[in-house]
Amino acid sequence: MPDPREHLLACLPRLRRYARALTGERSSADDLVQDTMERGWSRLSQWRAGGDMRAWLFGIMHNLHIDQLRRKHMPPADPDEAQALAAPSSAAARLELRDVQTALALLPAEQREVLLLVALEEMSYEEVAATLGIPLGTVMSRLSRGRERLRLLMLGHAMPAPLKVVK
């Protein structure tokens, strides 16, 4: 049985990668990782040996990230929509939007999370559902919507309206 502390530390580089992609910014990512690790350390005794440590830690990070967004009074989707709407359609702005990180930041947080857990973490869809505490069908629809939105953003489209209805 590996030492849970080692197990926890072994997940650290992946948590940092995910946080960086999720927040798009180094200092917020570092804060998020710091908070996740602190909570992870303090709850390590609650972690069920043999359970999926990675899903457990990413779940903690997910909850903290949602809390953070709420504390800032920014419901996950709104600022993204606002930025997307405000995006000028000049050639320079379009060029900038083709950058994957810039485009990623314009996705609603819940789509960004799913896409990153699949693309970066290479979690199975079922693991993503367990980590985020959402049904598998929701994972698939967020993945589909997130990818399409990212594709259009990278083609230089401003996203005029929330794509809430697409299933």
Binding site: P13, A119, R147
Partner: protein, 254 residues
């Protein structure tokens, strides 16, 4: 008749998660639909670009603050020492069994414990970006006076400029036999090495140069009377050996 793939199946195709048979069917389906194929290939390209953009984060040095237990357990040096050892053991990889017990058991031979503890302290602090040392080399007089006072003996950090390493600074660490000093050096490329100086070696004897490998940290160590010295770095044995010889000669000449 091939069933029309669902959107979920198309997503799974993007991620390479369909079984071979179904994948071939979807391939055929896409051959007949260039627009749909273009969309899905763009999704695959997203996966690649996201990995290319963010995978380098995996190789960044870990900030020390991320690897330590919550701060509120820190007022006690003893706990700090245990946490440091646990983290260090993890950073070195493996060594799950001994980490806490081995360091705390009085029975363990001091000579054996020295390179491990030195390598652990190295693994913890050498990657530290913001706070690699408590007192920097720019305050060398203060650093030497402070550590000398705490260790109860006059310390002289060796000058390793000739070997290409400059003193970065030092810090005080808890050790089995009392306080321990760690001096950190770095070369022009940022490669760091640490000299770990412990007092209170119970056996009070001399050993020759010894070499140990702890994870990817190489350690040369020796005991001189009540002092234990260990030089650690993630560099080859040969290079570290040459620096260690310099350190040894300078300390012996004091």
């Amino acid at each position: 008749m091939i069933s029309h793939p669902s959107e979920a199946e198309l997503q799974a195709w993007v991620d390479g998660r369909l079984g071979a048979v179904r994948r071939a069917e979807v391939d055929d389906y896409l051959d007949a639909r260039p627009d749909e194929a273009q969309r899905l290939h763009a999704y695959r390209q997203q996966n690649k670009e996201l990995r290319a953009r963010f995978n380098p984060v995996l190789d960044e040095p870990l900030p020390w603050s991320h690897t330590q237990p919550p701060r509120r357990v820190w007022p006690w040096r003893r706990i700090a020492a245990a946490a440091l050892l646990a983290v260090g053991a993890a950073l070195l990889g493996g060594a799950a069994g001994w980490n806490l017990r081995g360091a705390a058991e009085p029975g363990i031979a001091a000579v054996e414990a020295l390179p491990r503890q030195a390598a652990l302290a190295h693994a913890v602090y050498a990657p530290e970006v913001r706070h690699p040392v408590e007192v920097g080399a720019d305050q060398q007089q203060h650093l030497v006076a402070w550590l000398s006072k705490r260790l109860g003996t006059q310390l002289h950090p060796p000058q390793l400029g000739a070997a290409g390493y400059e003193l970065v600074g030092g810090r005080l660490l808890p050790g089995d036999g009392g306080p321990v000093a760690q001096f950190m050096y770095a070369d022009a490329s940022g490669q760091r090495l640490t000299l770990y100086v412990s007092t209170g070696q119970k056996e009070k004897r001399e050993t020759g140069f010894r070499f140990a490998q702890e994870g990817n940290v190489s350690v040369f160590y020796w005991i001189d009377g009540s002092f234990g010295y260990a030089l650690s770095a993630s560099i080859g044995r040969g290079e570290l050996g040459r620096v260690a010889q310099t350190v040894y000669d300078q300390l012996a000449g004091q």
